[in-house]
C-alpha cells in the first residue's frame, strides 16, 4: 500500500475518473476476498450505467460483481447484512437521488447498527453513488445530497474532485470499518483527468488537500467546484490576490485542523458548494469557523451555493443554478 504523497511520477499514469474508480475496485477485489460489488446493471458487457465496473465481472466473477434488480432497498439491505457478517460490500446506487429510495436502510440501519449494538455490529460498507447538475438530467437525477448524509451520525461522506483522490479515497473507504458514502460527480466522470498512482494507493479519510496555497482568502470547497475555484484563484492571482483553495475531500470525518489553520492565517473564508444553501454543508463549515475564529475574522464567512430550489431542466436556469466562476470571484472579492 502506498499513501498520498508517496506516489512517484513513474508509477502514475494519466487516467479519467471512471478508470481510476474502476482501478480502485479492481485492487480491492484482488486484495481482499471479503470485498464484493453489487448494483444495477454492473455486469458485463456494460459494467454499469457509467461503465465503472467494466471488465471486473469477467476478472473477478459474476458472484463478486453482482448485478441486482432495480431494488434499492434490497441492494442496501443486502449490503448491510453482508457487512455486519464479515464482508466488505461496495454497493452502487446508480444516482444519488435514488438513495432516497433506500434511506431507511442507510440512515436507520447502516449508520446506527454499530451504535445501537454497543459496538457489536460495525458496518464496513461502501456506497458509491453518482450525481451533480449540469447534464440536463432535471430535478430527480442531479441533486447533491451530501449534507443529508452527513446529518446521519455514523455515516462517513467522501466527495473526490480528481482521479487520484477518487482511487485513493475509494480504497480507504472500502477498507474503512464504518459505512462510507462515496459521492461521484457525474460532471467529472469524463472531464477530469490526471495522474493516478498504480497499485493499492490510499488517501486517508479526513485529510483535506490544500489544492493551492495563498495568503489572502481561504476558499473551502469539494467535488466539482474545486476546479472552478482553482481557475478563479489563478485569475485573482493576476490581480495580486492570494487565494488558498482547500479541497475537503471528506466531509465526515472533517479536517477542521487544516481549514481552521488556513482561515486563522487568511482571516477570510469563502465556502463553495453546488448543493442548495439552506442547511447545506457550508452552514456547518461557517458555524465552525465563526465559533473557533470569531474576533480574528476580517470579514463574515461567505457562501456560494445553488439557490434553494430543485435543479431546473431548462438550460438557462440550470446554468444560473450552478455556482459560476464569476459568482465565486465576486464572493472572494467581497471579503477583501
Amino acid at each position: 500500500m502506498t499513501t498520498a504523497g508517496t506516489a512517484t511520477p513513474e508509477t502514475a499514469r494519466t487516467l479519467g475518473m471512471v478508470q481510476a474508480i474502476n482501478e480502485a475496485l479492481d485492487v480491492a477485489l484482488s486484495t481482499d476476498p471479503a470485498v464484493f460489488a453489487l448494483g444495477e446493471d454492473i455486469q458485463e458487457p456494460g459494467g454499469g450505467g457509467f461503465g465503472v465496473h467494466k471488465g471486473l465481472g469477467v476478472k473477478h466473477g459474476a458472484h463478486r460483481v453482482r448485478m441486482t434488480p432495480i431494488s434499492e432497498q434490497a441492494i442496501m439491505g443486502a449490503a448491510i447484512g453482508a457487512a455486519i457478517s464479515g464482508l466488505r460490500p461496495v454497493a452502487e446506487i446508480m444516482l444519488m437521488n435514488f438513495v432516497h429510495v433506500c434511506m431507511d436502510q442507510l440512515v436507520n440501519h447502516a449508520a446506527k447498527l454499530r451504535y445501537m449494538s454497543g459496538g457489536r455490529t460495525p458496518v464496513p460498507l461502501t456506497v458509491r453513488t453518482a450525481t451533480g447538475a449540469g447534464g440536463g438530467f432535471g430535478a430527480q437525477h442531479s441533486d447533491m445530497l451530501e449534507a443529508q448524509l452527513v446529518h446521519a451520525a455514523g455515516l462517513k461522506v467522501v466527495v473526490p474532485s480528481n482521479p487520484a483522490d477518487a482511487k485513493g479515497l475509494l480504497l480507504s473507504s472500502i477498507f474503512d470499518d464504518d459505512p462510507c458514502v462515496f459521492v461521484e460527480v457525474t460532471g467529472l466522470y469524463f472531464a477530469a483527468r490526471g495522474p493516478v498512482p498504480e497499485g493499492d494507493y490510499r488517501v486517508p479519510l479526513g485529510q483535506a488537500n490544500i489544492a493551492r496555497a495563498g495568503d489572502d482568502v481561504t476558499v473551502i470547497t469539494y467535488g466539482r467546484q474545486v476546479a472552478d475555484c482553482l481557475a478563479v484563484a489563478e485569475q485573482l492571482a493576476g490581480e495580486g490576490v492570494g487565494v488558498e483553495v482547500i479541497d475537503l475531500r471528506t466531509l465526515q470525518p472533517l479536517d477542521t485542523a487544516t481549514l481552521l489553520g488556513s482561515v486563522a492565517r487568511t482571516r477570510r473564508a469563502v465556502i463553495v458548494h453546488e448543493a442548495v444553501r439552506r442547511n447545506g454543508f457550508g452552514a456547518e463549515l461557517s458555524a465552525t469557523i465563526h465559533a473557533e475564529l470569531f474576533g480574528q475574522l476580517a470579514a463574515p464567512v461567505v457562501r456560494v451555493t445553488a439557490p434553494d430550489t430543485p435543479v431546473p431542466y431548462a438550460r438557462s436556469l440550470e446554468e444560473a443554478y450552478i455556482p459560476s466562476r464569476s459568482r465565486i470571484a465576486a464572493a472572494i472579492r467581497s471579503t477583501l
Binding site: 446493471d41 432495480i70 430535478a139 439557490p307 431546473p312
Partner: protein, 342 residues
C-alpha cells in the same frame, strides 16, 4: 370478456373481437403521431441539432395508444422518463410537449421539468417521474381521490418490467387491492430494464403473475397487438370505473432504440432486436388496416402527423428559454415569503 380475481393471465380470455374501424383508425393515428415525433426527435439528436438525453418509446406506441383510447380527458395518467408515447396518447398538445422537452418557457412545465418530468394536469397527465417505480403509489392517491370525491375518474399508471422489482410496486398493488382503487397498473414489459434482460433480474416470466399475490386480476396481452390490448384495457378501465377495483395489465412489447439515446445495445443479441423491428407493430397494423381502409386515408393520417410534428418542432425550436428570474419561482406557494435564496 369479464375478468374475475385473481387470474394470473389473460390466456383464457378472448380479446380478439375487433372494435369499429373508427377506433382502429384512431389507434393508428395516435401511434403514428408518437412514432413521427420520436423519429424526428431522434434524427435531430443524431444531427446534433438538439442535445440532452432521450428515452425512446419507439416500438411501444400501442402500449400507450390502446390504453389511452379508453380514457377521458379527466382521467389520470402517470408515466415515466420513457413517457413520450403516454404523454401524446393522453392528449398533450405536441407543441407544448416538444417545448418542454427542449426546456423552453412555452413548455407544459415552463421548461422547469423537462422530458423526465412532463406534467399537464389539464389533460390528465399528472406525474412523469424519473424514479423507477415511484409513480405507482401516487397513482393510488389519484385513485383514492376520485373515490373520495365520488367521481368515476380512473387512473392509469405506466411503468416498466424492471419497476416491478421495486418495493413500491408491491406496496401499491396491495393498497389498491384492499381499497378497491380505480387504478389500472399498466406494465409495459419491453423485456429489458436498462441493460438487463427480464429473466436475469426478475423472478417471474410474466409480471402479471405477481398480481395474484395481492388478489388483483393480472392480465398479460400482446402489447404489440393493438386490438388485443385495446380490448383488455377496455375491460380493466370499465372495471375500475364501475367500482370493481384495480387491474394489473401487462403489455408485452419491445423497445427498438435501447434504453437511452446512444445505447449501442451490445448486451442484446442482434437477432432479437432485428426480429422485433421486423415485426414493427405500427407497420403490421397499417397493413392490417389497409385491408379495410383506403391507402389514401392512411397516407393522409401519416401526412397530418408529419405536419403536426414539424409544426411542433418549429414552435419549440423558436420558443424562448425561461428567464433566469424563473429559477426561484414555483418552489413554494408564496415566493415572497418562502425563504428561497438565489
Amino acid at each position: 370478456m369479464s375478468i374475475s380475481a385473481p387470474p394470473d393471465s389473460a390466456d383464457a380470455v378472448d380479446f380478439s373481437a375487433s372494435p369499429g374501424i373508427d377506433v382502429q383508425l384512431g389507434l393508428f393515428r395516435t401511434a403514428t403521431r408518437i412514432a413521427r415525433f420520436d423519429e424526428k426527435y431522434r434524427s435531430l439528436m443524431t444531427s446534433g441539432a438538439i442535445g440532452g438525453m432521450y428515452y425512446s418509446p419507439r416500438g411501444q406506441e400501442f402500449a400507450a395508444a390502446s390504453v389511452a383510447a379508453h380514457l377521458r380527458r379527466d382521467d389520470y395518467v402517470v408515466t415515466t422518463y420513457r413517457g413520450l408515447h403516454d404523454q401524446i396518447a393522453k392528449g398533450v398538445p405536441l407543441r407544448e410537449l416538444w417545448a418542454e422537452y427542449l426546456g423552453k418557457a412555452a413548455g407544459t412545465c415552463a421548461g422547469k421539468g423537462g422530458p423526465m418530468h412532463v406534467t399537464a394536469p389539464e389533460y390528465g397527465l399528472m406525474v412523469t417521474t424519473g424514479v423507477v417505480g415511484s409513480g405507482l403509489p401516487i397513482a393510488n392517491g389519484l385513485g383514492l381521490s376520485a373515490q373520495l370525491r365520488g367521481t368515476d375518474q380512473v387512473t392509469v399508471v405506466n411503468f416498466g418490467d424492471g419497476a416491478s422489482n421495486i418495493g413500491a410496486f408491491h406496496e401499491s398493488l396491495n393498497l389498491a387491492s384492499i381499497w378497491r382503487l380505480p387504478v389500472i397498473f399498466v406494465c409495459q414489459n419491453n423485456q429489458y430494464a436498462e441493460y438487463t434482460p427480464l429473466r436475469e433480474g426478475t423472478s417471474v416470466d410474466r409480471i402479471a403473475k405477481r398480481a395474484a399475490a395481492y388478489s388483483v386480476p393480472g392480465v398479460t396481452v400482446d402489447g404489440n397487438n393493438p386490438i388485443e390490448l385495446y380490448n383488455a384495457a377496455g375491460a380493466a378501465v370499465e372495471r375500475a370505473r364501475s367500482g370493481g377495483g384495480p387491474t394489473l395489465l401487462e403489455a408485452m412489447t419491445f423497445r427498438f432504440c435501447g434504453h437511452i439515446m446512444g445505447d449501442q445495445q451490445v448486451y442484446m443479441p442482434a437477432e432479437e432486436l432485428r426480429a422485433a423491428i421486423a415485426a414493427d407493430p405500427l407497420v403490421r397494423f397499417r397493413a392490417q388496416l389497409a385491408v379495410h381502409v383506403g391507402e389514401d386515408e392512411l397516407a393522409a393520417v401519416e401526412r397530418a402527423a408529419a405536419d403536426e410534428v414539424a409544426d411542433a418542432w418549429e414552435f419549440a425550436r423558436t420558443a424562448e428559454l425561461p428567464a433566469v428570474s424563473e429559477l426561484t419561482t414555483d418552489v413554494y406557494a408564496d415566493t415572497a415569503q418562502d425563504g428561497v435564496t438565489a
